[in-house]
């Protein structure tokens, strides 16, 4: 099943690549072929937001006593890892696009700044997670840290509407409710978003399963240590 999903993801990504590189038009006003970065930059940014949203939701489910389960803690961690990766990619791709389109690698624009802060907030979150071996040790701390960090996600998303600095406002979701993209570009963008979402789901699944195995190993080692200790005690006690 996982293999099949991976196959479908690869096919979807391949279709996106073909459309993005050969079918869609270039645009002189945005650095000719540099406009094709749209089909990478937008999906990576979307995945970053989606990933942190999933992390926040899973953290919330951990914090509610009735739904508290190791699954949520591990899912939050797995999703945040993928989210940090994609936030980093978004920053790098945006910077590569900024040079031909705006003439600068970096600008202290509201969207760029809030995204950079987002990157560091979740880097801190991942560092915090690494300090505890089991879900019980790290669960509550990391869940609260994730919820605090999530405050920056809507700020970052809405920053282009609130402050209107250099970064352009939303192409699809904007205040005028007017979609500013059509034809092959619109199709490619949708294909890119869908295929990247599939890639995200696959990566989170892999990472989640790995985390479960790690968690299981910790648990088994603990049980083994307890069993050894009990045996050692029995040996000591035996002569008496």
């Amino acid at each position: 099943m996982k293999r099949l999903f991976l196959g479908a993801t690869v096919v979807a990504l391949a279709v996106t690549v073909v459309f993005a590189l050969w079918v869609t038009p270039s645009r002189p006003s945005q650095g000719f072929d540099a406009v094709r970065l749209l089909y990478l930059h937008v999906p990576t940014a979307w995945i970053a937001y989606l990933a942190f949203g999933v992390t926040a939701l899973a953290s919330l489910l951990w914090l509610i006593p009735r739904t508290r389960d190791t699954t949520w803690d591990l899912l939050a961690g797995a999703s945040a890892e993928v989210g940090v990766l994609f936030t980093g990619l978004t920053l790098i791709l945006g910077s590569l696009w900024g040079k031909p389109a705006w003439g600068t690698w970096w600008e202290w624009d509201a969207r760029l700044t809030t995204t950079a802060i987002l990157f560091f907030l979740y880097l801190g979150y991942l560092a915090l997670r690494r300090t505890g071996a089991t879900s019980e040790e790290r669960g509550t701390r990391s869940a609260i840290a994730a919820l605090i960090a999530f405050v920056d996600v809507p700020v970052s998303y809405l920053s282009v509407t609130w402050w209107q600095t250099l970064h352009q406002p939303g192409t699809v979701f904007n205040s005028n409710r007017h979609v500013l993209i059509d034809g092959s570009m619109a199709f490619t963008l949708i294909a890119a978003v869908v295929s990247f979402t599939m890639l995200y789901a696959y990566l989170v699944l892999e990472r989640f399963q790995l985390a479960q195995l790690e968690e299981g190993r910790e648990e088994r080692e603990l049980q083994r240590a307890i069993a050894e200790r009990v045996r050692a005690d029995q040996v000591e006690v035996a002569p008496v």
Binding site: L63, I117, F120, L121, L123, G124, Y125, A127, L128, T131, G132, G139, T140, R141, I144, A145, I148, A149, V151
Partner: protein, 224 residues
């Protein structure tokens, strides 16, 4: 009323420790002073540049000192397993949070007076718009102390606590850095009216940080 009384007890305890140990007075406040000196080296003692950047440099110095103050506020709870005592005291988590944050805020005010005086003298700044300066400093300090206390307990008891707190806290308090700098800039430039949106930002941050801390401190103290 017991909420306030308990918070005052906790704040009194922390401030008494600081008065006796003099760590804040002899280490954290001088640290703020040396950072002010270092910035002057970085900008090659160019008076105009220092003068222009003074508000930002002031808050950067305060922000770095906050890290020390928070580290100190929670290292006193590590010694002699004081944290367990705090948990067993029966005091509500929210009260402990408000008390600890208030103690940090008092220390920060003292620090800001010293750092502010150093900035005025060394960076050639003329003090103007004192009401705006005070309002923004109060709002920013409450926000910094509250956010710092949240992250202090979040990392409490962990082996990597000292290195973790800066990584967690500094990105989270960027709104204070921005708001404090802009509000001070407006006041010193003689246009205090421009500072109010920034003071609103600082106040909103402070309210959010205090609310989040009051709710989250108890569970975090239990988890630590």
């Amino acid at each position: 009323m017991s909420f306030v009384r308990d918070a005052l007890v906790i704040a009194g305890k922390d401030l008494r420790i600081e008065r006796r140990s003099r760590v804040a007075l002899q280490q954290i406040i001088p640290f703020g002073g040396i950072v002010v000196l270092l910035f002057a080296f970085a900008l090659d003692s160019d008076r105009t540049l220092l003068h222009q950047a003074a508000p930002g440099l002031f808050w950067a110095a305060v922000l770095l000192a906050v890290l020390l103050a928070i580290g100190r506020s929670f290292s006193v709870e590590e010694a002699n397993r004081a944290r367990d005592g705090l948990r067993l005291s029966g005091i509500d988590g929210g009260s402990i949070f408000v008390g600890k944050a208030a103690a940090v805020a008092v220390e920060l005010f003292l620090l800001e007076i010293v750092v502010g005086a150093a900035v005025v003298v060394l960076y050639d700044v003329t003090v103007r718009g004192i009401v705006v300066l005070l309002c923004s400093a109060v709002a920013a300090t409450v926000g910094l102390a509250a956010a710092g206390t949240v992250y202090g307990v979040l990392a409490g008891g962990l082996r990597a606590r000292e290195t973790l707190v800066p990584l967690l806290l500094l990105p989270a308090v960027t709104p204070v850095m921005l708001g404090g700098t802009r509000a001070f800039q407006a006041a010193l430039d003689g246009s205090p009216g421009d500072a109010w949106p920034w003071i609103q930002l600082l106040t909103a941050f402070a309210v959010l940080a205090v609310a989040a801390g009051t709710v989250a401190f108890g569970p975090l103290l239990e988890a630590a």
